[in-house]
């Protein structure tokens, strides 16, 4: 894979874009491709494409972000065709963009150990709320990024995140016997 001189000059730009946007793109691709391994592969393809394109530095930051999402989306589609479809598609899971991503048994066990109580509480959230909370804490995303990943409006994500946290907090208080509040 040949790199042009142009791309070589762009590498710090790509590094900056990676630092800023890779977590949200990764979360999105994880969602689209159904596995962290496939998501990583596609993420690499996206940023290698960013390195190889000569036009990225001529774009505004807004256009650069839009370019990254466009390429990620298309490469995600491709990866999706490569992997998931062949194993059959649980349409109802894809439906609301709420698929509970593949979590290994060890991961689940560790999480359980970390907080049995919270686990029970999280199960009481709606799937969409749980997904938003997961994107916030497991991927470190902010509302605008969660909105992009879930295909929702930022305002809607803010509301549902606040609602989910307030709901958890209320349960938490109750369990702790802090009912005087």
């Amino acid at each position: 894979m040949e790199l042009s001189q142009k791309a070589a000059a762009d590498d710090s730009l790509v590094a900056k874009l990676y630092e800023r946007h890779s977590p949200a793109l990764f979360a999105y691709l994880h969602h689209q491709t159904g596995s962290p391994e496939n998501a990583e592969d596609v993420l690499v393809e996206v940023f290698v494409a960013a390195l190889e394109t000569s036009k990225l530095d001529q774009l505004s930051e807004k256009e650069q972000v839009s370019w990254l999402w466009r390429v990620a989306r298309n490469k995600g589609v491709d990866a999706y065709r490569r992997s998931q479809v062949r194993q059959g598609l649980d349409l109802s899971l894809v439906a609301d963009h709420i698929a509970d991503h593949e979590r290994t048994p060890e991961l689940i066990a560790l999480q359980r150990e970390a907080s049995r109580l919270l686990h029970t509480h999280l199960d009481k959230l709606s799937p969409v709320q749980r997904e938003a909370v997961r994107l916030r804490f497991a991927h470190g995303l902010r509302s605008s990024e969660i909105a992009a990943v879930m295909g929702k409006q930022e305002g809607a994500v803010r509301s549902l995140l606040a609602r989910a946290l307030n709901f958890l907090r209320a349960l938490y208080e109750k369990e702790q016997g802090e009912t005087h509040l």
């Binding site: 689209q32 290698v48 491709d78 439906a95 470190g140 409006q153 803010r158 606040a162 946290l165």
Partner: protein, 518 residues
């Protein structure tokens, strides 16, 4: 829970979580705690603040602890991915710089630091402009998408007003077709719980049979099912070998064969008996070991990371040959193959594009179009000369289809959400249907059945996933609307005689295929 007890506010939820996240990281940082107390003063009296804050802080801490393993795993993947990307840099100076951000700091902290830099702090941060422009860009993208959806809604509303007239006019074309109104469900074929439908439905060319592939999650087995298209009665079940579960299923225009396959294998199946009459195999010997992704320990399996194999297939309109888009290391080609002997009859080459995701012949067989979305190209060949007749740059289309009986090529984009129709002979844009991200032509080419691409994504925040809109191609006006009782529609397939449409639909109760009057 009453409103005034809600500690987390929609407008500041990010910042509130950040506050507690940071205090968690810096504990027992008393300064942080004081800052928080100041910030939340407006909410309530001091006593309540402390209680609420304690509960909220505990919650955020618990959530962080709960997701920490997953978070670290994710950061580890990002770091690993950057290592792979950096391998493509001529010098590694930039990689070192970024890698340090991930490696040198504690994982949680690095993520929080990243989050912090995204907050706009006008008084201290000189690069606020860029950061704002980042959120503005997201906002703008959302607004544009909302606008497009809005336009579609407007078109629909307009269409609805004119619906009775237009439908009446449209129906004169096929007056004897059926007395039932458009959208009337003929039958629903429910699949057993735990059985998934593949997102494709194939009609036989005489419109008498329908084929699809279903996948049983418990047995992990796929089977080809063929049933009577008008009654839904079962005709044939073919258990499929594991290597045959497919990406695509197409009925040959002669009606005799089906092609079913995936990246590595394409099987030609006799549609009456279900027996496999020929198999095309992608030979991995043509795949060099210097895959782009070969550095990854996580992705050593060919072809999932490499982009090799059969990416799309299409029958020639006379059914004599099968076109196969073959992707390899350096570029993609299209081979025209005798389906029964596997003999290559012709080869179509691209300059450098690799993965042809969608392929279609014009109905007269003169042109072949292939979309290479990862290279943003659509290539149209003249079939008889194998020369490139037309090429479109900057179009990342997942769906392309020729308007029947014309040389007009329609392509659907999800971002931005629109479908455009181009006249390939004059190389001119004829029509744009805003908001349409997936579609299928009516067999007479006069209408399109438009729906929401099941791939979705950031471009379509509010798109309806349970509707099919029939659009009159010439005017762009909605002439009919089908609303599913189920949550989502994934595939829409028009019967070759134009009378019915089959949709693959999903609900919480399971998946089904619905056939309704077109």
């Amino acid at each position: 829970m009453t409103q005034n007890r809600d500690f987390f506010k929609a407008e500041s939820v990010d910042e509130q979580v950040d506050q507690f996240s940071l205090s968690f990281l810096d504990e027992p940082g008393t300064n942080q705690a004081q800052t928080e107390t100041r910030r939340v003063k407006e909410f309530s009296t001091q006593d309540q603040i402390e209680h609420r804050q304690n509960a909220s802080m505990r919650l955020v801490k618990e959530l962080q602890a709960y997701y920490q393993v997953e978070h670290q795993q994710n950061l580890g993947i990002l770091e690993h991915a950057w290592g792979r990307i950096a391998a493509h840099l001529p010098a590694n100076h930039a990689s070192a710089q970024v890698q340090n951000t991930f490696l040198s700091s504690p994982l949680l902290r690095s993520s929080q630091a990243r989050i912090r830099t995204m907050q706009s702090q006008p008084s201290t941060d000189h690069s606020t402009g860029r950061k704002i422009s980042r959120s503005v860009s997201l906002l703008a993208a959302t607004l544009v998408a909302a606008l497009l959806v809005g336009m579609l809604v407007a078109v629909l509303a307009l269409g609805h007003n004119h619906q009775s007239n237009t439908v009446a006019a449209g129906k004169t074309v096929t007056p004897t077709a059926t007395p039932l109104p458009v959208g009337s469900v003929v039958y629903t074929r429910s699949l057993h719980t735990g059985t998934n439908v593949y997102p494709f439905i194939a009609w036989s060319p005489d419109s008498k049979r329908i084929a699809t592939v279903v996948f049983n999650q418990q047995s992990q087995k796929a089977q080809l099912q063929i049933w009577d298209a008008t009654t839904g009665g079962h005709l044939l079940t073919v258990p499929l070998a594991d290597n045959l579960a497919g990406d695509e299923l197409l009925w040959s225009p002669t009606g005799k064969y089906l092609v079913l396959g995936n990246l590595l294998t394409q099987a030609i199946i006799d549609s009456q008996t279900g027996s496999i009459v020929n198999t095309l195999t992608f030979t991995t010997t043509t795949v060099s070991s210097t895959s782009v992704t070969s550095q990854s320990l996580l992705s050593s399996r060919i072809p999932s990371g490499g982009g090799f194999g059969f990416y799309s297939v299409a029958w020639t309109p006379d059914g004599s040959s099968l076109a196969v888009a073959v992707s390899s290391l350096s570029r993609g080609i299209v081979e025209l193959i005798n389906p029964l002997t596997s003999a290559v009859q012709a080869t179509f080459s691209t300059p450098a594009y690799r993965i042809g995701i969608a392929m279609a012949f014009s109905s007269d067989g003169q042109y072949l179009a292939v979309s290479y979305p990862n290279d943003s190209k659509i290539v149209v060949w003249n079939v008889s000369t194998q020369a490139i007749a037309f090429q479109q740059d900057d179009y990342q289309a997942e769906t392309i289809a020729w308007q029947p009986s014309t040389h007009h090529l329609a392509r659907a984009l999800v971002f931005p959400a629109e479908t455009q129709v181009w006249d390939i002979s004059s190389q001119k844009l004829l029509k744009t249907y805003a908001g349409v991200t997936a579609f299928t032509w009516s067999p007479d080419g006069k209408e399109l059945a438009a729906y929401t691409s099941f791939i979705g994504g950031p471009g379509q925040p509010n798109a309806k996933t349970n509707e099919v809109v029939i659009i009159e191609a010439a005017s762009g006006v909605q002439v009919a609307l089908y609303q599913s009782q189920h949550r989502s529609i994934y595939t829409v397939s028009w019967s070759p005689d134009g009378r019915y449409i089959a949709t693959a639909e999903a609900s919480s109760a399971g998946n089904q295929i619905v056939v309704w009057i077109a």
